[in-house]
Amino acid sequence: MAAPTVQALGLTKVYAGQTVVDGIELAVFPGECFGLLGPNGAGKTTTLRMLLGQTPPDAGRLTVLNHRIPEDARDMRARVGLVPQQDNLDPDFTVLENLRVYASYFGLSGPVLQRRIDELLGFVQLEAKAQAGIGTLSGGMKRRLTLARALINQPDLLILDEPTTGLDPQARQIIWQRLRSLLAQGKTLILTTHYMEEAERLCDRVAIMDHGRILACGSPHALIKQYIEPHVLEVYGPEVETWQDDVARQHARRTERVGETVFCYAEDEGALLDDLRQRPQLRFMHRPGNLEDVFLKLTGRELRE
């Protein structure tokens, strides 16, 4: 197997006595899309900042694109693109100027750059907005511009911190499509997201993180198979609690009540379905296990601050 694009061993970050990244091991390989999932405050952004050499780890070893980080971060960053969690486009410049000025930070200029900018504006479907001010762009357009900006140096590795948070479904679809086309070009992607569907669709492998630790890592399919029973029933309606105690617990390996809904995880769905057909007052949905089930099983259902 090729040398990993990112390799982290025992990577640790401590803020004011609190360990926010706790000795994690990561290996991301060339050409793959790797997802970092975790509740708010899990340590995803902090991990990405360490990968970029934007903050030094308190312990551990880290290499990115064969550069030792943080010592050699400058040369590494010349080959990496970042879509940060918060947009930081330059509000004083137009779309075009944003790309040109950002390119200058990489030492890029001239006709080759102009061609690349034209291509990138096409790639993110913003040709018509080249002369527009940043203030006039929608959230989705800003995100696409940030993606184009991250590609200005033709990076081998693209790091995206919640690329689609706050976007409408159409805007999200465009980003997904663009990311898939980057993967087809052979780029390596690392992304964080709170949308399990997004991770399941895009990522070859995901790591589920909480309290600075990696709880599980693998392909979405393998994780679902490992942690979740093949059948999931979501049941709700009057007195669903009684039904959970009297029926569901007998036929499902695990049941869980969240608000008004009972989740049943079962190897075999037959008995549960037979019973539910006798109870028209209960409504239910029968579906296969998914990554969200894995995520909730591993990280729990309590709200995070």
């Binding site: 934007q54 400058r74 960053r77 930081n88 330059d90 000025v101 200058s104 990489f106 030492g107 140096n153």
Partner: protein, 258 residues
Amino acid sequence: MMFHPPVVSLRWIPVWRRNFLVWRKLLGPALLGNFGEPLLYLLALGYGLGSFVGEVGGLPYGVFLAAGIVCGSAMNTATFEGLYSAYTRMAHQQTWGGMLATPLSVDDIVLGEMIWAGTKSLLSVAPILLVAALLGLVHSWAALWVLPVVLLAGVCFGALALVVTALAKSYDFFLYYFTLIVTPMFLFSGVFFPLDGMPIAVQWGAQVLPLTHAIAIVRPLMTGQPLPHLLPHLLVLLAYGAVAFYLAIGLLRRRLLA
């Protein structure tokens, strides 16, 4: 890691250039603010007050004041740039955050910002100097040497302001710096009146202020009076600039790379 020596390279240029491009877009209000206000001082005080006080230090008051206004304006312009504008780029627009995802480092950003602050001093002083010359308040062609001195002073005041910015939690913090440092310096460095008449303690105190040393060079250049030894004055400005540069880089590394 935070206070190791600065790594200096030409990568400050794109940082400087970014600010220059924004300035060029917003040219009108920027010039008016940096150049209009000092010009008002010059006209109101130079002619208004000048008609009462007559000669100061052997010079017509307007001529005496012009050199002070040039230096005071260089200080104010660079200070505003290093405080409010730099803080906006650091904290609100995350411009520096964007740069730190590229091959640029904190060191490049600080160097680019302080040279930009000096450039802005130059951009605001040059028209003041021209108008002062047209009003007959400049007595020597040597006044052209004022421009590099103003650039140096602006870089120095910009670096000092960046130290304050590195420590600031909000814009309000800058009021301390203005009230405790900038305003006293503006009043007691010989901008408006010669220091000779002040108590000896004040005269010695003024020697600590970088603005005093900028004025000590700029005034004879503009009035045609004999020049003092330049080296000590230049060294004071250079020393302030160098120490502030080092401190600003250390503090901003600590703040931005935490």
